[in-house]
């Protein structure tokens, strides 16, 4: 069977937080988008436009209230929880805005954490971790606790952790929010390298430096939880 050009498709997705409660809030309204395999796609929009909600939904971190999400042609919305876990474990690598590292763990321990609930022997886990650490020049800091690292170093640890499972899709939420221009440029270079490995990268950002970057293949603009255009 021929693989679709789109690795992810959403179909009339709606996301409502706290439904039926006084603080009910609709974060996504009727979102239908397509994300191409092997390129960089940017969800662009100001704060509160629904970028993170859409990233969570396509990354199987939350279920939409309505609509369908296809990952590799499979509708993941109705899948049982353990299949969503499988997706998060094997298909996606996440780089969060706040990095979401465990601050009291060492760099090495943070990076191998996704491999912990697998039957991979510890020696192989370490080998893989050392390979990604080497790639992002953080090997020397492997024993250091994350809380003692700079913002740029923490981000590299987060990227290393996202790649340890060798995922097809990298999802990054506001990855340059805490970086200066130089580090942001470095980050874009890393993304370029990942695209070169035929990985798909989806970024949510309001940083013009990112969405105006020459590497970006597609921009999906969002405003107030709705699509404001795609090009």
């Amino acid at each position: 069977m021929e693989r679709s050009a789109y690795i992810i498709r959403t179909h009339h997705v709606k996301k409502v937080y706290n439904p039926g409660k006084p603080d009910e809030m609709t974060a996504l309204h009727d979102i239908s988008v397509e994300i191409e395999r092997g390129g960089i796609t940017v969800l662009q929009g100001p704060s509160g436009s629904g970028k993170t909600s859409l990233l969570s939904a396509i990354g199987c971190m939350s279920r939409p209230t309505e609509g369908k999400i296809f990952v590799d042609g499979k509708d993941v919305v109705k899948l049982p929880e353990r299949f969503l876990t499988e997706m998060r474990r094997n298909k996606f690598g996440f780089i969060f805005q706040q990095y979401h590292l465990i601050r009291s763990l060492s760099v090495l321990d943070n990076i191998v954490l996704p491999l912990c609930p697998t039957d991979l022997p510890p020696a192989e886990m370490k080998e893989r971790a050392l390979a990604v650490m080497d790639r992002f020049s953080i090997t020397e800091k492997k024993k250091m606790k994350v809380k003692f690292l700079s913002g740029g170093e923490q981000q590299r640890v987060a990227i290393a952790r996202a790649l340890i499972n060798n995922p097809d899709v990298i999802i990054a939420d506001e990855p340059t929010a805490h970086l200066d221009k130089k580090l942001a440029a470095e980050f874009m270079d890393i993304l370029a390298a990942l695209c070169g490995e035929n990985r798909t990268v989806v970024i949510a950002t309001h940083d013009a430096f990112v969405y105006e970057h020459s590497l970006v293949g597609k921009i999906i603009a969002m405003r107030d939880g709705r699509l404001a255009g795609a090009h």
Binding site: S56, R63, R88
Partner: protein
């Protein structure tokens, strides 16, 4: 298998990362387990001591009562009881209690003839004449004497009597002989001033154990002012007394355990923002709900097992090394407090299982269940707080 070992390893790391919190919980939990272990070990050992004491007790003891009080029994009652069908040896017994004002201790004074099997000496021999005695280890210790030494007691006419100590009893069951002073029958009669033809009670041997109740009923019919007590009744009474006392203590410490579990539950349900965040991160990077719960389960097991082991060892030391100094007055009762004796350790696997079940299971449940509430939530929702 490797996966589970790695999760256990991570659980251990998590506990060490939260060192202060973990230490506080283990300390409080250990105190609770120590209290429960002490009560269970103490009452169990006392019951075992009592059982070993009663194993050598006569099948039937016949006392005489007057106005509901224990009175001296005529020795010719023994001859009448002997005539009952199914009755073997019948012996009049002479014994009483002696309060030693000097040491503030209560001793049991027993008269004997011949070489009773139940009284095995550690050293020396049983008394043969009126000026001799054999004593328990507790008496020897308190009166600072031993085989070949002397023991001065004050008799019923308030006259000091000097006895030569001919032997000290073995401490197989210290409850049996610890506070014992054995004199010859003639000596004890003179010491307590017992009137001629009267004894303290009568010990009766019954050939068929199943006939005990029938023989007891016949004795009661034959001698209406008597009170026959079977060995079974004695065992039951001891059991009831120790069970009641230990039950009372267990109720008190059971309440402490429940309070601890409520505290643990409260702590766990109010999972800190950091811990919640960590569960969210684990789920986001591919941990399944069951794997997060396994992590929390092992964290609970490691803490509960550590506390259980420390508490059980502390309970053991408290009871068998430090002589149950915190519990003895409550469980033993006043009558056997003096002189102090060391319990022989009787370690019952069922007891340790019960203790483990009472302590480990509630704690693990009180940590896993609240974590489950967080673990079943979407990672996105957890991380948004």
């Amino acid at each position: 298998m490797i996966k589970h070992l790695k999760i256990i390893d991570y659980a251990l790391t998590s506990i060490l990362r939260r060192r202060n919190k973990s230490l506080a919980i283990i300390s409080a939990f250990t105190v609770v387990v120590t209290a429960l272990a002490s009560i269970l070990l103490f009452s169990n050992s006392l019951k075992k001591e009592a059982a070993s004491l009663l194993a050598s007790a006569p099948d039937l003891i016949v006392q005489r009562t007057m106005g509901g009080r224990h009175e001296l029994i005529p020795t010719d009652y023994a001859a009448q009881i002997r005539k009952i069908h199914g009755v073997g040896e019948v012996n009049a017994r002479y014994w009483g209690y002696y309060y030693d004002a000097l040491t503030g201790a209560n001793f049991t004074v027993l008269g004997t003839e011949g070489n009773p099997e139940t009284l095995q000496l550690l050293e020396g021999r049983l008394p043969a004449g009126e000026g001799e005695c054999a004593i328990g280890a507790g008496v020897a210790n308190l009166k600072n004497t031993g085989t070949g030494g002397e023991l001065i007691l004050v008799d019923s006419s308030n006259t000091g009597v000097l006895y030569e100590v001919t032997g000290v009893f073995r401490a197989d069951s210290s409850l049996l002989t610890n506070d014992l002073i054995v004199l010859s029958n003639d000596a004890i009669k003179g010491f307590f001033g017992l009137p001629p033809g009267k004894a303290t009670d009568v010990a009766v041997q019954v050939f068929n154990e199943n006939e005990l109740q029938t023989v007891a009923a016949k004795v009661k019919r034959l001698l209406p002012d008597s009170r026959p007590i079977t060995r079974t009744e004695l065992v039951r009474t001891y059991d009831m007394v120790f069970n009641w006392r230990s039950g009372m203590m267990l109720s008190v410490f059971g309440a402490a355990l429940i309070a601890f579990c409520i505290l643990a539950w409260d702590k766990a349900t109010g999972i800190s923002a950091d811990e919640k965040q960590e569960i969210g991160i684990l789920k986001a990077i591919g941990w399944d709900t069951s794997e997060v719960l396994a992590l929390k389960f092992w964290e609970g097991v490691i803490i509960a097992l550590t506390s259980y082991l420390l508490g059980t060892i502390a309970g053991y030391l408290h009871i068998f090394v430090f002589n149950a100094f915190l519990l003895a007055p409550v469980i033993k009762g006043w009558s056997v407090v003096f002189p102090d004796f060391h319990l022989t350790p009787h370690l019952d696997p069922y007891l340790f299982f019960t203790l483990g079940f009472l302590t480990i299971a509630p704690y693990v449940a009180s940590t896993v269940i609240p974590a489950w509430k967080t673990a079943i939530t979407d990672p996105d929702t957890i991380m948004r707080g």
